[in-house]
């Protein structure tokens, strides 16, 4: 038995959880439908998970989905909860969580910039954060080819070989 069981039981009673994984004693991964994420996060925040540690995205290009990953942390018990939601890959949109965790502002800008996911209700998320004057598709998408972009934008040094050794294959 581990310390997160009570928490998971409580969450199971209130929300529809698709899957629960326990990678570690103090960590819980919850796969959840995107309808319930905001209520889950506000419940967790009220429950002592005051810190949003990370908001990021994963591009599952074969399944044609984006997965948003929210990690929240409870400073009193030291428990991490990782909530995952799936979005369709074409025209990905999701509701912002800035009313719950205001610190998500920069994460949402980051995810919007690198994955092109739009966060409704957060007008700030359209501002560029890291990339200046970016005009291609968001660079962290799997179908973006960074090498071709680099070759086109940043010319490489061409080396002229001074000496090419002749190799004889001895049978």
């Amino acid at each position: 038995m581990n310390s997160t069981n009570k928490l998971v039981e409580e969450i199971r009673q209130r929300f529809e959880i698709i899957d629960v994984i326990h990678p570690d004693d103090q960590q819980v991964i919850l796969d959840i439908d995107k309808m319930h994420l905001h209520t889950l996060l506000s419940h967790l925040k009220a429950d002592g998970f005051r810190q949003l540690s990370l908001l990021s995205a994963v591009d599952w290009i074969k399944d044609n989905i984006f997965e948003l990953v929210y990690i929240v942390f409870n400073w009193d018990t030291g428990v991490h909860v990782l909530a995952r939601v799936k979005l369709p890959r074409d025209n990905p949109r999701f509701r912002t969580i800035t009313p719950i965790y205001p610190g998500a502002q920069y994460y949402e800008r980051d995810v919007h910039e690198f994955f092109g996911i739009e966060f409704e209700g957060n007008p700030m998320s359209y501002k560029p954060l890291f990339l200046e004057l970016w005009d291609e598709m968001p660079p962290m998408r799997k179908d973006f080819d960074p090498e071709a972009y680099s070759r086109e934008k940043f010319p490489e040094r061409v080396y002229v070989p001074h000496f090419v050794p002749k190799v004889e294959v001895i049978e």
Binding site: E132, D135, P146, S150, K153, F154, P155, E156, R157
Partner: protein, 183 residues
């Protein structure tokens, strides 16, 4: 190599080059991991001050722009700004293989692959990372180059400004420094 009238230095320029060679003030543009090699070069073990070298606080005061490590598109804009703020004669030293040919992230969408496409580099220090011995050795070379009047990257930049500008605009679209913290 033919010597034309431009290459012949006047006497006062030779004297000035002696002073410039033996007093190298550097602006370290510490973007990458290379910055960690500078403290041992500066402090007791390798003691760069005995060659008259030292770090400076602003690009206006510096003679050498030392770029230690990766340049992304965003930092390159700042580097070009810093370089153009420096006073003539000025020298650029590229540090590490990342400035030379892109290093291990040559295929990244964000990092430069060759610095001399955008700024006139007088000297490259190869290695990933170059040890302080390599840094001291290359600065010895730079001192000799300045003394002989061979480090003329800044003149090259003035004469071929169109070419450099074109390269900068091709890679960066616009050389500007503007972000929400400076609005």
């Amino acid at each position: 190599m033919t010597t034309n009238a431009k290459d012949v230095r006047k006497t006062w320029e030779k004297i000035a080059d002696y002073f410039r060679a033996h007093s190298i003030w550097m602006k370290w543009y510490c973007t990458g991991c290379g910055a960690i090699e500078m403290p041992p070069t500066m402090t007791s073990r390798f003691d760069m001050e005995r060659l008259g070298m030292g770090p400076m606080a602003t690009p206006r005061q510096a003679d050498v722009l030392l770029i230690t490590g990766y340049l992304s598109a965003k930092t390159l804009r700042r580097v070009i700004y810093s370089y153009e703020q420096m006073q003539d004669p000025k020298y650029v030293v590229g540090f590490g293989s990342c400035t030379l040919n892109g290093g291990i992230y040559f295929d990244s969408y964000a990092t430069m692959t060759r610095l001399d496409h955008y700024l006139p580099v007088d000297l490259y220090i190869a290695g990933c990372m170059p040890r302080p011995e390599a840094i001291m050795n290359s600065f010895d070379t730079l001192i000799k180059m300045i003394e002989k009047g061979e480090a003329k990257g800044w003149k090259h930049y003035q004469e071929n400004h169109e070419w450099y500008r074109r390269n900068q605009l091709h890679s960066l679209k616009e050389v500007y420094v503007k972000d929400e913290f400076h609005e």
